[in-house]
Amino acid sequence: MGRYSVFSLLRQAATGNTGWQRAWRAAVPKPSYDVVIVGGGGHGLATAFYLAENHGIRNVAVLEKGYIGGGNVGRNTTVIRSNYLLDGNTQFYEFSMKLWEGMSSALNFNVMFSQRGQLVTAHSADQMDTFSHRANIMRSNGIDADILDREEVRKLVPYLDFSETARFPIHGAIFQGRAGTARHDAVAWGYARAASGHGVDIIEGCEVTDFIRHGDRIVGVETTRGRIGAGKVGLAVAGHTSVLGQKAGLELPIESHLLQAFVTEPVKPLVDHVIAYGADHFYLSQSDKGGLVFGGNLDGYNSYSQRGNTGVLREVCEAAIALMPNISRLRLLRHWGGIMDMTPDASPIISLTPVDGLYLNGGWCYGGFKATPASGWCFAHMLATDQTHELTRCYRLDRFRTGHMIDEAGAGPFAWLQ
């Protein structure tokens, strides 16, 4: 695999783009690996990359039942931010943000990270207070945050509804200038290519169907491409953690739920930032192709089916028009869904498990894309050292039993209401 550079671009341009190589090797499963990672999404691939890069562990396989980029890593709305309130989350997501800032050069792959800034609108004096609190916490952790009043918001995004008749008048906003978006497929491809370059085997079309045990220890996996031995097995399967966890005998505080995303027909550049609507669960940004990308609520009941539901479609369009009336005539081109692990406190799980040889990375709810690099970094640390990384001390699996929830959404144990 050659390195991408200006010169490689010029060379290919001069020779008709006929010399490009595969981005990653098509690997055939070996009988065993030091570490097997189940799930070739962003988190699994990042874990493999950092295992090799940070810990020198290269005898690693990533097993993906479908194809790289086909899961949530390629289905999300790509919002990256580190505007968290709770201790533990604040530091973890800011560490992730720093990794995003260096990702394209670290991976030698342009992930199109665009720090266009995110604002969350506030619609009451109380909400302004809450946002000020959050901004203070962020600043005291060295994270950029600004509180904007109504006029400052109007100057930045004049096309929102500032009229007398707005359903929920805008009081102000919290703004993080370093937040933004990245090209989600590129993140998967970039990690896959860089991991493969370090010797990691990336095996697509390989579903893990069960675990192989020696006594109480897990020593490998059964797959649709045969048995594969493993010194350690790391799970990073997004919405399917319960399905595999059950096979390993884990009882988990997780429900699988569907989240949809929507995109309109392309229009000229209009929305410079990521805008989240503080009066409802809704946000939008404009893609590089010009489509407005919308996100909203969960469908609201357990689901493993990666397709949408028109109820949420209607709610999302209502919120879109309440926030930005001038887009009411745009046509929606597409919508799609992804299955996510929802945890009772809306925080992830990166944890050792009661099962020897099995390590868990899951429960990302609907916010795990922004976590991709830090999640991979810390999970690799755990797989390599058997220790919990300091940044993920709050994400232990036993926190529900011990009462150490990290309830950022403030929703309580009702996964479908988050």
Binding site: S242, E255, N302
Partner: protein
């Protein structure tokens, strides 16, 4: 959208109902001092990929709580009963 056959109102659109979570978890009795039982009741969910028994309330109809058995992959509904009948 799901269409749920309410035993008292007939087949209605999902928009008339509110979801209430997994119907298989059992609330421990009030005087149960076993932490583990409460932990399991509040947090542990089987989360099946397949048949799932779940509560729905017919909020824009008879307001009854129902237990619906639904496939979480295909969304096909195999049974709907009054929750009080099922729990009795």
């Amino acid at each position: 959208m799901l269409r749920i056959a309410c035993p008292s109102c007939g087949v209605r659109d999902q928009g008339e109902f509110r979801y209430g979570g997994d119907a298989t978890v059992e609330r421990p009795s009030y005087d149960n001092a076993d932490q583990e039982a409460w932990f399991r009741y509040v947090y542990v969910r089987p989360n099946p990929k397949g048949l799932h028994q779940e509560y729905w309330q017919h909020i824009f109809g008879c307001r009854q709580w129902l237990v619906v058995e639904r496939d979480t992959v295909t969304h096909s509904i195999s049974s709907v009963e009054f929750a009080r009948k099922q729990r009795a």
